[in-house]
Symmetry: D2
Subunit: 356 residues, 4 copies
Amino acid sequence: MSGNTLGTLFCVTSFGESHGPAIGCVVDGCPPGLALAEADIQSDLDRRKPGTSRHVTQRREPDKVEILSGVFEGLTTGTPIAMLIRNVDQRTKDYSDIAGLFRPGHADYTYWRKYGVRDYRGGGRASARETAVRVAAGAVARKWLAEKFGIVIRGYLAQLGEIPVPFESWDSVAGSPFFAANTSLQPKLEAYMDDLRQAGDSIGARINVVASGVPPGWGEPVFDRLDADIAYAMMGINAVKGVEIGAGFESVCQRGSVHGDEMTPTGFLSNNAGGVLGGVSSGQDIVVSMAVKPASSIRTERRTINRDGEPVTVSTKGRHDPCVGIRAIPVAEAMLALVLIDHALRHRAQCGDVCK
Amino acid sequence: MSGNTLGTLFCVTSFGESHGPAIGCVVDGCPPGLALAEADIQSDLDRRKPGTSRHVTQRREPDKVEILSGVFEGLTTGTPIAMLIRNVDQRTKDYSDIAGLFRPGHADYTYWRKYGVRDYRGGGRASARETAVRVAAGAVARKWLAEKFGIVIRGYLAQLGEIPVPFESWDSVAGSPFFAANTSLQPKLEAYMDDLRQAGDSIGARINVVASGVPPGWGEPVFDRLDADIAYAMMGINAVKGVEIGAGFESVCQRGSVHGDEMTPTGFLSNNAGGVLGGVSSGQDIVVSMAVKPASSIRTERRTINRDGEPVTVSTKGRHDPCVGIRAIPVAEAMLALVLIDHALRHRAQCGDVCK
Amino acid sequence: MSGNTLGTLFCVTSFGESHGPAIGCVVDGCPPGLALAEADIQSDLDRRKPGTSRHVTQRREPDKVEILSGVFEGLTTGTPIAMLIRNVDQRTKDYSDIAGLFRPGHADYTYWRKYGVRDYRGGGRASARETAVRVAAGAVARKWLAEKFGIVIRGYLAQLGEIPVPFESWDSVAGSPFFAANTSLQPKLEAYMDDLRQAGDSIGARINVVASGVPPGWGEPVFDRLDADIAYAMMGINAVKGVEIGAGFESVCQRGSVHGDEMTPTGFLSNNAGGVLGGVSSGQDIVVSMAVKPASSIRTERRTINRDGEPVTVSTKGRHDPCVGIRAIPVAEAMLALVLIDHALRHRAQCGDVCK
Amino acid sequence: MSGNTLGTLFCVTSFGESHGPAIGCVVDGCPPGLALAEADIQSDLDRRKPGTSRHVTQRREPDKVEILSGVFEGLTTGTPIAMLIRNVDQRTKDYSDIAGLFRPGHADYTYWRKYGVRDYRGGGRASARETAVRVAAGAVARKWLAEKFGIVIRGYLAQLGEIPVPFESWDSVAGSPFFAANTSLQPKLEAYMDDLRQAGDSIGARINVVASGVPPGWGEPVFDRLDADIAYAMMGINAVKGVEIGAGFESVCQRGSVHGDEMTPTGFLSNNAGGVLGGVSSGQDIVVSMAVKPASSIRTERRTINRDGEPVTVSTKGRHDPCVGIRAIPVAEAMLALVLIDHALRHRAQCGDVCK
């Protein structure tokens, strides 16, 4: 119940600092008998890993995962699956300048106030590097969801700073350095990012994630609603500042006669609900959108204080993502997968006898 | 760990249906020695209760709370505080028409798919009536937070449908049937609501909640971030479809040099973070905004299906809120109080020896 | 996660003091569609209730249960089942003498040290009266276990003070005021208890509980072993000081060649394991034995201290059980039922696809 | 909440199989600022490790621990502490004979029924090897308990098969290959073990663990009693079949006037309670005793069945402990430390303001 474990039945415990020896996680509660190999996980990790284009951090981490337990003769055994990723490209000296001060918008200050000590190297535990292990755990979840229910979970960049990136096709996402579901905007996005990098600044993004094939009935009515758990999972990704389900903030201006998705014998006529009604999945696509703030590690000089409370300025060196929203997309997919498998297991625990 | 308990250390277990004999909750983990009487809880319940103006449901529920345990000689004893609210004004016959069909946008359908049975009377467990017990539990939490830390938690209506309701003063909220922090707009809001009621339709709203006086250091870095738990709590309120912390979706278009709140020896220069950095409170105001969808129980006729999958139409009678966002405000305050007290206790458990 | 909730998926939250207005519980996570009425619960409560013979406390509590939620048209709906039992025969004045001092062997002292306040009336929360709600919750669990798996859970008195009470037949238990599975010893047990009562003293007991029909595969290997959770549940009953599974402490002197239960195509040849191997049920009877200490509320005068740390003597008036072990038997059955249903649900959550 | 995580606030997640690449754990919730190095953990691991005398398994595992996270510049940071122990001396071929059958008294059968697959190499997850990680986690807990409260946790062998081993002095324990608090019996114990080994059989044991210096007030009254959580933790150690607190099963024959520990201004006059009253620590020593069954991996031939349900015989080769109770002693100490630190944190969370 400490803050580094996610899930009630499919539990992921995350550990590791950006510049420590390793990061990793333990997945407990995975159904037995699932075919699983390191390659299944590596493919998702490769989508998130740094250094894949000039638009993301240039830290060179192979993010090679080692499965330490829970898999025997190619199958999960139902016991904990520990996964380990060694850190190999730390440049800790980049951080000595910020050991004694707090970057604006960063966890530097709050960690120090909370714990009284802080591993400042690369942001320590607050580094987005930690999210690699969520992707690893999510890969296990999504494999089971796909094989058992045919569920497909996909994300894309919906907006980069001021530039909306309209959804055109899922086919475009894999080839885009921005996870854009849109090919025509690529030159514009690249120019935008090049300018930003040159300016030593960073930018926010909106990212969307969709799960298709989720059966009706997953979720809980009151507190542990499916959408509440999704909001928790997404707001728990570094830098996320807002989460919407379905119509989201648009529903503020909608009338009930417009918002409520009408039903016919062949299905729903719209999806303002985003696939969740009363906290329980309806069988429609689960549609989630989130705001990712601009990274706080930027070259631009800013005012702050040091540990002694004195005014100083800070400009962050090191290798950082100018738009953390981009690489957050596979992370958001993983988080959605983790919430869904947990509710899949919870649902069959309580309602395994219901046939409707 | 079933879905009707909130919190890790300050735990609220909710029970009860809209048209059953009673609703209530059990608060477990409350610090001992807190002066507590039913009157402390009643005042918050009265802010949420139905029938206070013509703009909310006309169901007449006194929402009178009875404390059944956990208080002795006027002080909490540290044992569970059970609180009971009897239902007194059910009109179950209003619901016989919808027993066999599903209102668009309502949990009717998903409950039926999940459980195979459904207490259709007044929405059963999915009724907003359940939120009264959250307000009761929240009243305990906010009393402790106020007495121990001087924390103040307040909410207001920020937008009603298309009408933004700018914040002017907290003083206006108590006298407004809409919880508006603004007096000049009241005639406009009243006219809007009257039209809506006449039209037999409902409307969404944006509501904001602010907690002042929260010390730095509350929250957890990775999954159980303070903002993640707030998002979970708020998305767990009936009809909420979106949650923002601080700049929220505005941060999509912000540059890092703008978003990151600069610090000086006398404090932060802005609050885009909304009081949370890296999942941990910074000492600034915790600022939360959320979208509440329009209610799905409306008189306007809509297409749907019945239990046999046949096409039918539905028009809901009964006494319903045309804008559930209004009465959701005290609920959102309560949920924020519950998240904060839980993290207050978690923080001193782990970091009780830290002095920074 | 506070201490008054039991279970991971089938969760029971208990509340109430001995001399407060009521005791009760909320059962969350019950499978939907179970036929349930108050009469189903009352029959178990009646087995535990006070005043059924001269050998137990003479407090007159009808222990009449009211179901407040979670049941609709005779079936559980999958939402929380709240159950309420009003206290009707408090005699609080009996306790004014002990308000300022601590009975030897009683929670008086530790509650006061923990919480700084204490509801001394009738032992408050530490009263065995609280266990009535466990019986109520257990009745729901055992009904589901019986209907779904044919599981039968039964307990009996195995030893009263120095008198072993050999098991002869389950048929004897219902007619015995001592829950003895043995009729011939009844006069001896009655004489023993009459002497004890006259002496103003109390006595310990050994009680056994057996669950038949539990399928193989329930439980978890490492921490949440089925036997570990049973030990937790039983040691969590007031006055229990020891718990054994299967051969228990006899296994200290056993050789491996004797202890290990051999298997044949028609089943196991012995049951030293008590139905649990490696934390997981084997399909044999689950066999649990426990030691219940003598009650600490006795007329015999004893040395103690008061709140000011001064030496005083204490002799407890009021109506108390001379052997709390007797009425603990239905409680132990209930606790076993609660552990089993929780693991039944957990097992099908993770291993619902396994067919072995 | 899956079965491989222990604790509510100080959480230990265990992973790893006996013959997989590694075992390890993640400790989440450790207070920050604790001085911690691998050497602090290694000394406890060395007490449990195999091969230290001819009376335990001859598997040669250095049990060298690597801290992967959560410690920075010699201090815990409050973030998860991951610890890894590589397996280096597997002899998997020893187990090929038992891949298709079930050892009497072993988890072989129940794992297979639960999961449908089973890592049979060295018992996989059911191996006592897993307990090394509990010792590692416990070392962190006991260091904090010692430094913050002066708590000392010690265990000893109280009985080996039929031979009682009376407690004489804690000083004897460290030098005894049996963790005996008694030097005079050593030749007898050695002869007993030599005979047993020659006979190809195994034997049970009784072990005691004592925690001194625990302040009053730790624990919870109803379900999560300190003694209930201790019973859960101890019964969760491989091969434990019975747990007692204080007088334990002796209390069956005790009268209340004998059992209840009288109090005087200078303290309690006895400790039948074993340091726990009403689920809450009294300030006296916490005294726990447990029965450890004989190991099921023995050379003696026994009847069993294979996966096809056919009758076969089995005789286990490999390197096994003839008395698993011996090496269980440091494990039991670790488990007690883990329960105590968890309740220390829980107590100050809820009752941090109480001064009594």
